[in-house]
Amino acid sequence: MSDQLIFSIEVFLNGLMAGVLYSLVALGFVLIYKASGIFNYAQGVMALFAAMTLVGIMEGQVPFAGLINATFGTEVRNFGWTVPAFAGIALTVGVMIVLAWGVHQFVMRHLVGQDPIILFMATIGLAYFLEGVADLMWGSEIKTLDIGLPMGLNETIDRVTYEMFGYGFFIDNLDIVASVIAALLVIALVLFAQYTKQGRAMRAVADDHQAALSVGIDLDFIWVMVWSVAGFVALVAGVMWGAKSGVQFSLSLIALKALPVLMLGGFTSIPGAIVGGLIIGVGEKLFEFWVGPLVGGATENWFAYVLALIFLVFRPQGLFGDKIIERV
């Protein structure tokens, strides 16, 4: 087998793993968009907020320490304890649920029935507000997130591929774990949507609000639930990304990576979000590997958007969306 091909396989696998993260963020978008027609620009910031909250809780940081110190002239910073990862995650989930409730109660509830562009603007406001809150609550320095996930070169894969091709693949353990967790998350979501009462209600709300009301579904409850689920998905994405590259504000920019994924997969399709994320992840890495050297590199910055644009022209409904037929 040629070296080029062997390297390509490695690049492909790494792209797949990077794509998992895009899929997760896109999934958060799709959930909220389907249920309420809101394009949630804040999804990326939610991932950041969740990751920062998790780090803050685990390290025993005093929330709003800066604010408290400035107001009262105190010097508090830490509670002096640390919280184990599992409890930290549970508490963070709680925080994300409270956040979901707050977003619905104080913002979205008052905007029901408004134009999509207005809802979108509201989520832009939410994104910046949340970013500010995250900053105020936990401080803006880069943090390391360590919840004990395995990291570094997977030696088994390295050895096996070395024996097969005479070249050992570099696959990060963290990427493998992330993929497995993401897959489990998606399976859990599908089971939830298909087989539970709340999941059925969620699908009903996504389909038709009026009909949902008439069969006794509390729309407010479902919307808070959906924002909570999206918050949980954001937490998972935030943890993955944070464990890899540190928890920092650039994390919120993964939302921008999810955009081309959504154009590819369609805004309302869960399988679309997953497959779209993987395609962009793989496409981006392979393109950089094959074409990057010819054009001076840095193709990863724009490849996803160009691919999405091509898709928009030829298949505007996305991979799995229904064909758009103009009614006349």
Partner: protein, 273 residues
């Protein structure tokens, strides 16, 4: 014939009608300057088929929307099963056992017929999320029981052949029937039908009429329906409320309202003063 003073009455075809289930007292509903309902009172009795008729824009759908909680009247009281109802959201009304269909059909277009009808059972699904995750047996038991009710209704309305069909592919007449099935799946105490036969051909109308009568007969369901076709109204209903320009202009048996001068004028388009 009509004995509304006592507790119920016997219909022409010999069915026994019970006490008052739903009572509207002095309902007024405005939209800005438009008064959709003007100080209307009427009641619906246990086991009867009650029709609301009137020309276009009379306020019939608005009345149904008030009953089902979609509209909140500015004035008046709603009494359900002997209790004054506080202002309620539509989902709360549904959970009280009032199911409805819509004039413009509101189905879950992305779901199959079976899934649509199944959503009608949501108000009967008790098991909580945790229990569903942990105690699988209990949830399955409930699911099976709900499926049985749903299958019975699907058979009853003769839509077995389209159980798995996505609703978006169905013709209009069948959609109306699926919507009725979903409402029936809730086993409602009161069933509200907004123009269940609008836009249907003669044959479809006959089918739908038969289903409505059968539902009332077999399940004893109390039904309030809006209908334009006078022939159908006269055949189906026990008592009729007539509305015109938001006002009630008649209330009684089909024969009584048919001979009511004000009703005749409204339908012949006599100028309003």
């Amino acid at each position: 014939m009509l004995d509304a003073s006592g507790d119920g009455y016997i219909t022409e075809d010999g069915r026994k009608i019970g006490g008052v289930v739903m009572e509207m007292r002095n309902i007024t509903l405005r939209f800005g300057g438009v008064v959709a309902i003007k100080n209307i009172s009427f009641d619906i009795r246990e086991g009867e088929i009650r029709a609301i008729i009137g020309p276009n824009g009379a306020g019939k759908s608005s009345m149904l929307n008030v009953i089902s909680g979609f509209y909140v009247p500015q004035e008046g009281e709603v009494w359900f099963r002997g209790e004054k109802r506080p202002p309620m959201k539509p989902y709360e009304v549904a959970r009280q056992g009032i199911a409805r269909t819509f004039q413009n059909i509101a189905l879950f277009e992305g779901m199959s017929v079976l899934d649509n009808v199944m959503t009608g059972r949501l108000t009967h699904m008790k098991t909580g999320l945790m229990a569903q995750a942990i105690w699988k047996g209990k949830a399955e038991e409930e699911e099976t029981a709900n499926r049985e009710v749903v299958e019975k209704i699907i058979d009853f309305l003769e839509i077995q052949h389209i159980r798995k069909t996505p609703v978006s592919r169905l013709p209009y007449g069948l959609k109306k029937r699926v919507e009725l099935a979903r409402a029936l799946a809730a086993e409602p105490k009161l069933l509200l039908l907004d123009e269940p036969m609008a836009g249907m051909n003669v044959e479809e109308k006959e089918d739908m009429s038969r289903f409505i009568l059968d539902v009332n007969d077999e399940f004893g369901t109390t039904i309030a329906l809006i209908e334009h076709d006078m022939g159908v109204v006269m055949d189906l209903s026990d008592r009729v409320v007539v509305m015109d320009y938001g006002k009630k202009i008649g209330d009684g048996t089909p024969d009584e309202v048919r001979n009511n001068q004000e009703v005749i004028d409204a339908y012949l388009g006599v100028a309003h003063d």
